[in-house]
Amino acid sequence: MIKTESLRKSFSGKTVLDGIDVEISDGEIFGVMGLSGSGKSTFIKCLVRLVNPDGGRIIVDGRDILKVEGGVEMARFRRKFGYLFQEGALFDSLNVLENVCFGLRYLTDISPGEYARVAREKLELVGLKGVENMRISELSGGMKKRVALARAIAAEPKYMLYDEPTTGLDPSLTKKICRLIKEMQDRLGITSIIVTHKVEVAFSLSDRIAILMNGKFKVLGTPEEIRNSTSPIVKEFTDRSECF
């Protein structure tokens, strides 16, 4: 279970997170929506301390991770998490296969001989085949996203944090990735936090959705509740008639 209490973060005087309280239970898919620049990425980065919050508490499986001292201890703690970066953050000094294998060495007990097989399996899950030996610079945007996704899920962590998992993907790939996330929840009981601005992705996948605005989760509820809500904030997000 992930629980945050009055989580706060500001960058050089500008408040980005202004007291976030939320409880995400095991096995849940939790959607986070919000305008560009509202602090969605900052929120999930705080959960693994890629960004250090200014205040508040983050309790993961009963332990306050802001109290974890020392790199070694923190590294052990981060093993519970998989993280899909918004821009992929693939290692461009390594090829596709090496990227996907990368975490297996540090995060799992899989024997080195098995790495390639596991990596190919994950690449297939995201709809990629025969790209193992390509360099990162040779990939298209959507391919990068999927390689990054394969890398993030390779070690099958307990918690998955997805920053815009379907951005830049065509509709059929979007569906494929949504199915994959759902399947990982069903099959492995993986808890997911999904940052997305695609309404249909958030609504079809999430058990609960939060809308981040002015540093707080202004709206939080099941897709059903949110669909029926009359709040103007929700209207702004779910209004599909973007261009007239």
Binding site: K45, V48, L50, G71, V72, A75, R78, R79, F81, G82, Y83, F85, Q86, E87, A89, L90, F91, D92, S93, F102, G103, R105, Y106, L107, R151, A152, A155
Partner: protein
Amino acid sequence: MKTNPFEKIGETFIYASNRAGQLAFMIKSTVIWFFKAPVEYGEIVKQSVRLGVNSVGVVMLTGLFTGMVLALQTGYTSISLFNEPLYIGTVVGFSIVKELGPVLTAMVVAGRAGAAVTAEIGTMKVTEQIDALYTLGTNPSRYLLIPRYFAFFITLPILTIIADFLGVLGGFAVAMIKLRIPSTVYWDNIFIYMDISNFMHGFLKTFFFAFIIATVSCYKGLKTEGGAEGVGKATTESVVGSMLLVLVFDYFISAFFIVIGLI
């Protein structure tokens, strides 16, 4: 609004001690991970080869021409003062082995390999690849810094020996061809006066230089901010910083060596 000069001094002091703190933290965490985790030999070899290949050509040319110009200058100065070229080998040998070999090699390596390291780590920083290292169970100290420290510690001494060798050889060529000094005189001038401690004086410095360049280039890379422009800026700062620190520390290390009798 009037600014208090003490405020400025205080700010500068806080900034500097902040920097020093971050540097110390980086070095500390690198040492900790060196003992806590298995060393990645593959990465060390890869980085050493890259660094060596990257710099060896320029180092050779630098060594060669430095030795040549030293012989030329001492030769003609000596001729104009004493009517004959005296102690060319001695001057070239001592200058190259104790100072110019180590220092110029460090300059070249700072400019090529140090810049490359900062640019690479800086790019990784601004594209979140450094963050990705953390989420994939490792960290920059372990995966990037330890192999690069090793690479500098391994290659800088080797490159320095290459530079020393070519410098002395370049001096020899000029002494023979331009100054018409018999080859035995040139070599005698070196080997009669020079012993192993003179060589060690220069050689041991390279480890300090390696430490300086590795520390500055890695630190500047990890602190990079602001996209591609930031990478360019960090790279320049890294090269200038390494070069200045090498020159400054060179004086103090030399002075220290002289005090302990390693002349």
